[in-house]
Symmetry: C2
């Protein structure tokens, strides 16, 4: 790995210029073009020398002998690190984002709008994920009797998220059994962390097993049916703006695979959780996604954890082509991440 210190002032400037030119044109950048647009008035020959050095350092590549240079992942990496300091969001973006997210009153909707607005500002794919953390506290449960031994379980958590789950049970419980069970849970466990409720419930069921107890029987049935699965990390995953990718000059095959991958929302969620974690504060730019997901060659992920206080409650990201407006997108992602914290803090 070449020492970034090797990069002097002039190198840096030329590299930046190459990356930016390539981002906006998509054509390999030649020494002549660069010399013309560069205010410093360096001659093409000089620039060629510098380019040769940069190519040695692994920052540039040539599609073929007589073509211009194309930035490598390493160059993007360097470029992003360079600009990441001077990030201030444009007023236009700010207005758009605020207008879109204003008045959202629940998390679901916030996430959905976020993925939408991200896809708008970035010309990439906007992703927003909400983690229903395992630390959710129970507020209220309700069980509804359905035909064919089925029961609908509704669990409301303190943070205002509603889970519903249709279950098929081994034995038929009638609505009054269900009400009794729901009352028992509501009275004994309101405010408990859901996974604790499950543990305690399990303990009590075990304990009482010997005696015949209709209530405990019901609870056991419901427990086994997964009535309290609300503590599982069920995720709300919103992916939007796939159409933005279609404009890209990808080959068809890869594009199709990419779209397919993005349709499998679980995979997108896994991808994000692989690269974003709570500890890291700010926006993260992942270049070189093809190592994890081959069809994402030439794509980058710009994401941030969405925290409420210390706890990670979601993630948001843009998946877009390496040739994208990084500054723009990074600031937008970071801005929304902050809004998220703000919204959910007043929520709790």
């Amino acid at each position: 790995m070449p020492n970034p210190g090797q990069i002097g002032h002039r190198e840096r400037e030329i590299l930046t210029a190459i990356v930016e030119t390539y981002i906006s044109t998509g054509e390999p950048v030649g020494s002549r073009t660069l010399s013309r647009q560069n205010k410093d008035g360096l001659s093409p020959a000089t620039i060629r020398n510098v380019m040769a050095d940069l190519a040695d350092g692994g920052f540039l590549e040539q599609p073929h002998t007589s073509a211009g240079r194309v930035p490598t992942s390493q160059a993007y990496r360097y470029y992003v690190d360079q600009i990441s300091g001077r990030a201030t969001i444009s007023p236009a973006d700010q207005t758009l984002i605020s207008d879109t997210l204003q008045g959202t009153v629940d998390v679901q909707e916030f996430l959905e709008r976020t993925s939408h607005v991200l896809s708008l500002v970035s010309s990439g794919v906007g992703v927003a994920i909400g983690n229903v953390g395992p630390k959710n506290a129970l507020e209220h449960v309700y069980f509804s009797h359905q035909a064919n031994n089925r029961v609908l379980a509704v669990v409301v958590t303190k943070s205002g998220v509603v889970h519903d789950r249709m279950m098929r049970l081994d034995h038929d419980l009638d609505q009054s059994d269900l009400n009794t069970a729901a009352n028992y849970i509501n009275e004994n466990f309101r405010g408990w962390i859901i996974s604790n409720v499950k543990a305690e419930l399990r303990r009590r069921i075990e304990q009482e097993r010997s005696e015949y107890d209709r209530l405990m029987k019901s609870l056991e049935e419901l427990y086994k049916g997964g009535a309290l699965a609300a503590d599982e990390p069920a995720k709300n995953i919103f992916v939007e703006g796939v159409a933005n990718l279609v404009g890209n000059d990808q080959d068809r095959e890869r594009l199709r695979d990419l779209v397919k991958t993005l349709e499998e929302k679980e995979r997108v969620a896994d991808l994000l959780s692989a690269y974003l974690d709570t500890r890291q504060e700010a926006v993260r730019v992942v270049i070189g996604l093809e190592e994890a997901v081959p069809e994402m060659r030439n794509f980058v992920l710009i994401g941030a954890p969405a925290r409420v206080g210390e706890e990670m409650r979601g993630s948001l990201a843009v998946i877009g082509p390496t040739r994208m407006d990084y500054q723009h997108t990074i600031t937008a992602v970071s801005y929304i991440a902050q809004l998220f914290d703000k919204l959910l803090n007043e929520n709790t």
Copy 2:
């Protein structure tokens, strides 16, 4: 509009052969090719004559003078009408569909899996929509107090669908106000059609307005906040298999517009409801979508209403290229539509 009676036996056979050949190859079909594959051993010249007639009748088109013929919308229409009689589902499809849908215990999941399996069997986009009909009966409501004047309303309907809605109210109601209100509704209105609940509630609120009544105040707040919006035709819309379209030899521009349209699920829902209605029994094949949605040139919609008894409770459809395996897709759509009825009938 040419009279189908004009089409004789030979014409029909040749037209069918052209459509099928074109579907499988994607190339304009020439007289020679056809003559070779046709068992009747007609000479190319004869076939050319017939083709000329069919072209006059508006069934065939030529991309350019010396190219083969390509079927028009009219030809597809005719072809589909021809084959629609002999529709029996293939065992392979049947197995795949049954395996995928087996064990689905709630409607949501059924719809999701349906859209998935439709996209699998048809190489097109699978769409499944559930209408939460206005005739839903109330089973249970619950209101949860949240920070900042917000209230979470949870409404469970008899058919086992759960609606939740976060609302911001003008005045703060505490949890005990909310419980009182919920109890009032549960005790008075269980089993009522939700829109009737709303009407009656409104009436009672009006009536009691003169006197000061804390309960009525709460109910009014909640009502105005939209607590009982569960009767609105909120829809579950599942669209899957967009990746299948990318393989198509569309021009980029149109493909992008198409993907964009499919991402706006509301529009997809509108499209379906425009073409499918309760009265019609079976699968409907809509050819010539570009009249409604320009970017859908060369696409067809194969859809069916999903009924439970007489009532239309959803729709399912495949949106795919005109060049698709109609027989296959039509039978699959029809098969799933029947399963839907079966599943939800035992549900009610």
